[in-house]
Amino acid sequence: MKLSTKTVVVIAIGAALYGIGGLPMFGVPVFANTTLKPAMAILALFSVLFGPFVGFLVGFIGHWVTDLFAGWGVWFTWVLGSGIVGLVIGLFPRLTNRRIQSGIFAMKDFALFIVLALVGNVIGYGVSAFLDTVLYAEPFAKVFTQLTIIASGNTVLIAVVGYFILKSAAKRNQQSSNLSEE
């Protein structure tokens, strides 16, 4: 595995942002042990900009940091879930030919972004919910409710906050890519 120094730094900074942003003081509690984290948008952004590998590690390390420093103990099932969410959303640059990098963020890209966010949340936290029923003998009905709320809530949140951030990301890239010779 070849990892450039830049990737290492990007992972670290993404994980730190996602980790701090996930702390309960920034969250909106909606259900038992379930908070909507605005930080999900950060995870989505790093995945979109740097691909699945960075996305997975930002989700995994970041969620681990949140759990560790919030002090409620590390819930590995959900840490893994965040990693998978990053991984799935990280498919975005492959599917769109890195259009964001050249400053284009069209409506169909936004639609794809929302679809990936939904799929990522359903698969990622679905794995968490499934492992919870096996490892913690949680009632299926409860984790299923948790999953439904998280997946839909996160998708809306990622879509709203992510839209503004991705748009400005595209705008920034545009400034450095559409120079013309005079």
Binding site: L3, V8, A16, L23, I61, A70, W72, Y136, A137, I165
Partner: protein
């Protein structure tokens, strides 16, 4: 509002206790082993033991109770709420797992059975048993030593270094966040509860945006500085904070190994998932 006044969870506190002197590797293995044992068991006796040992270890760190009292209360209330929701959504789960039914309070669908109460207590304590050990781990392990241990245990050093960098970057983000928040508030962006939910989400993006982009700009600087110092040139690296394992570490590791194997044996040979004495 000063940056220091905003509490961002817990962090390393050096009190020089016996636990601080243990090697980072030992503490990380202890933490992982603890989580494994907690995951394998549904035996209230074992879980109760773990909770007691955990609280004892927490006391041994000599960190003042004040540092984690609020967390303790918050975790306890979160877990009780969790138990309540488990009951509301699946009131007969305990009966299904344990296989018998002793109704204490008949209320139709929401009948309270002895089995359900027992099940809820077991699961809640099971979650709670992870709380003290996570605190012990954070209070007693220095972030850099933690990454060194991760690397020593086989995690590729670049990823271990990313973890260390993450932990070292946290205070930086705190500072930036507060600065940007003040700047945006000065420009008239409403962040308090007075604004509507969607307005607040939007204004949150106006803080997250600058925060993320200024951090992204810094990646360039940091990675250049690291490259200049030769980071990533070789297959391996050494760590300043990596200590050799002492005799007491080997003794602890041996103890942990025995405990984990016993727990796994117990789970494999157990006939019933839940221990239920009645």
């Amino acid at each position: 509002m000063k940056a220091e006044k905003i509490a961002f969870g817990i962090s390393y506190i050096d009190t020089g206790s016996a636990l601080h002197q243990l090697n980072g590797i030992t503490k990380f293995v202890l933490f992982m082993a603890w989580v494994t044992v907690v995951l394998t068991t549904f035996d209230l006796r074992l879980i109760g033991g773990l909770v007691c040992v955990g609280l004892l270890l927490l006391k041994m760190t000599r960190v003042p109770v004040k540092a984690y009292r609020t967390l303790l209360i918050a975790t306890a209330s979160v877990l009780s709420l969790n138990a309540l929701f488990m009951f509301l959504l699946a009131p007969q789960q305990g009966t299904a797992y344990i296989g018998s039914e002793t109704i204490l309070l008949p209320l139709g669908f929401y009948s309270i059975t002895q089995e359900t109460l027992f099940y809820l207590v077991t699961i809640t304590l099971k979650y709670f048993s992870m709380f003290p050990i996570a605190l012990v781990f954070v209070f007693t392990t220095h972030p850099t030593e933690f990454s060194a241990s991760l690397n020593r245990l086989g995690v590729p050093y670049k990823i271990a270094y990313a973890v260390s960098l993450t932990l070292r970057y946290l205070p930086e983000i705190k500072k930036d966040y507060v600065n940007i928040m003040h700047a945006q508030q000065a420009r008239g962006i409403e962040l308090s509860k007075k604004a509507s939910f969607f307005a607040r989400l939007k204004s949150l993006a106006s803080i997250l945006g600058p925060l993320i982009f200024s951090s992204l700009d810094k990646t360039e600087e940091i990675s250049n500085a690291m490259t200049l110092r030769g980071f990533g040139r070789h297959q391996y690296r050494t760590w300043y904070s990596l200590k050799p394992l002492a005799v007491r570490d080997w003794l602890c590791l041996l103890g942990i190994l025995v405990c984990v194997s016993l727990a796994i044996f117990k789970r494999v040979f157990e006939t019933q998932l839940f221990w239920y004495p009645f």
